[in-house]
């Protein structure tokens, strides 16, 4: 979802200047995409501190490899791919379970729907939130990435397919699996 025309021309110039060593121009690109790059990394590793570190590494890698960037894909997609690959490698390498820090574990109780008439009936909201986070951890990084990129980052299937470099059909089947799995777990929570 990008506005063509002026932004593309602007971006092409920023990339060219960055290639020539203009760090201020690269800084503009960082500010433009930092939120989304962190979001992509967080969709895989699900820990904000790690995601921010991975996002910084993403931009550094991108800067180092600007000469290899071709305009076949968009700059943003190229960035997100780097972020996703770094995050998946990190997750596999570290192989650790995320410890939920205090602020990550907080839920905004008022944001959850009222229970009456809702499919998930009367549940403790903090319990629901904790169980949902645990359920996300139980998914593989690939399944977690697609569901969070779709639901939290709002990416389209084509964008997710580009970023994760897998066919659109794979994105759809992983989403279906992730939704079915999470729905079942949440139904169990609401039923208990």
């Amino acid at each position: 979802m990008r506005t063509p025309g002026r932004q593309d021309g602007d971006e092409a110039e920023l990339i060219e200047r960055s290639r020539k060593g203009d760090s201020a121009a690269f800084g503009v690109l960082v500010e433009r995409y930092q939120r989304r790059v962190v979001g992509v990394a967080q969709a895989v590793v699900h820990n904000q501190d790690d995601a921010i570190e991975l996002a910084q590494e993403t931009f550094v890698r991108a800067y180092e490899n600007l000469s290899k960037f071709e305009s076949r894909s968009s700059f943003s997609t190229w960035l997100y791919r780097i972020a996703a690959n770094l995050a998946i490698d990190f997750w596999r390498r570290e192989g650790r379970h995320v410890v939920l820090h205090g602020e990550d574990a907080e839920t905004e109780i008022g944001k959850l729907p009222t229970a009456q008439g809702d499919s998930f009936k009367e549940v403790s909201r903090s319990e629901l939130s904790a169980r949902l986070k645990q359920a996300l951890e139980e998914l593989t990084p690939e399944h977690r990435a697609v569901i969070l990129l779709r639901e939290v980052e709002g990416m389209s299937y084509d964008e997710i397919s580009d970023v994760l470099q897998c066919p659109r059909g794979t994105v759809m089947s992983r989403l279906h699996y992730a939704r079915t799995h999470l729905r079942k777990i949440l139904k169990d929570v609401s039923g208990s």
């Binding site: 060593g21 760090s23 201020a24 960082v30 550094v60 905004e108 499919s119 989403l175």
Partner: protein, 194 residues
Amino acid sequence: MAECGEISVMLGAFEDSELEPNEMQEVAFHLARCESCTGILADYSTLGRNLRSISVEPKLAGFSSAVIARVERLPQPAHIRIARFFRRQMDSLGAGLAWGGAVAAAAVLTIILMTPYAEQFARKGAGSGTSVADATHEAVPAPNQIASSSGNEPTMADNDSQAVISRLESPNRSVAVWSEPRRDTTVIWLPDQP
């Protein structure tokens, strides 16, 4: 008619508006008649909302400067390091020049624009009735013509409301459109046909 098993795998994509139009229609048609699948769809919507509610907005203060600091520590060819040095010098000079130049440009433009009027005023004196104001005319747009079909004659929407309707088609003979300028609202009325 599609079975629930076929439809259930498409529900997520329906929710995401990622199906082909004919598939969207097929799922929509099934949902209108299947409470079970409608319930699953509602669960997917709730799941999405819950996922968004537990996501934490990242704290990005200082992020870009940290990245730039790392980037600038990377080994660079000599010509790039020299270019960076001169660019930094020009940036600090440029800021001062920018303000000075902008003020000077504004002053010159003001003088140039006001000089003819000042001369005119001095020549003709205070008693002149010359008006230099331009009249602007706002065209009052004509009420929208709404295309009718199936023999309808819908009422027209007023341009004062928040919506300007250029086309309205409906098989409903009783369709009507009206606007409430005081409430900034346009209403399309589609009563069920007997």
